[in-house]
Symmetry: C2
Subunit: 146 residues, 2 copies
């Protein structure tokens, strides 16, 4: 076993592009072959970078009122999906509408325009689908439900 790992380096594999309601993931050409077979899945996980929150003060934030709403209880960032977190990784399940070359048209991806995409994974039930998962009351009051 090697010693403790202190730092990990990632490189973007694509970028999020928003045009009105349409959202596309532009995968960089050098990763084109990593998309082989992706059209067989209806939904994907996208891990992206909250690039607007890649700042020391945002990465040092450990508790927030979710949605910046004081009506939501002060919550640890590992207990909510806020972009302020030590490693500002975004995670969203989205529907894959169309694959055109290295462009993926998707629905339901809440990443901002220009967000670097770090990984794309297929959504695979039943391991990923846990409709029975329990959440606190404040989550249930959110709208839309996330």
């Amino acid at each position: 076993m090697e010693g403790k790992i202190n730092s990990i380096t990632l490189k973007p594999v694509g970028v999020v592009k928003r045009q009105g309601e349409a959202v596309r993931i532009e995968v960089f050409p050098e990763f084109a072959s990593a998309l082989k077979g992706i059209a067989g899945f209806s939904h994907l996980w996208v891990i992206y970078w909250f690039h607007d929150n890649d700042r020391p003060e945002s990465r040092a934030t450990l508790q927030v009122h979710p949605r910046r709403d004081p009506a939501n209880p002060l919550t640890g960032v590992f207990a909510c999906r806020a972009p302020e977190r030590p490693n500002p990784l975004g995670l969203t399940a989205c529907r894959l509408i169309k694959v055109e070359g290295t462009e993926l048209e998707v629905e339901g991806l809440d990443a901002r325009d220009g967000s670097p995409v770090l990984d794309i994974k297929p959504y695979i039930p039943p391991g990923d689908a846990l409709p029975e998962a329990v959440t606190p009351e404040w989550v249930k009051r959110l709208s839309p439900a996330k």
Copy 2:
């Protein structure tokens, strides 16, 4: 808008510890307050680092036979969950059994002992729970279902 982001740096926020069947996430003490409220969730997403695959040849691998089984079709790494990928990020939904200080006892986390944990997020239906998601035939033949 700034220029293209070429490199992103993460730091581990904890580590996976396996002892027999028991699996724990040891969150580093400096992130203790980020756990506030986590016990209200039954399930978590864990984003971890496939540290055994943080090697240039593994990160350059863009297609694999899933599970290293030639019976599975040659598949792009963005269309499967293989640890070989440009950014070796692991993503697993797991059940939160117990919180003791900064230690989370979990069930269903398939990360190896010693894997750096990069982020922890609550599992929130219905956005995360898509039991209707469609997968190709080769995925349906896998056992367990992932």
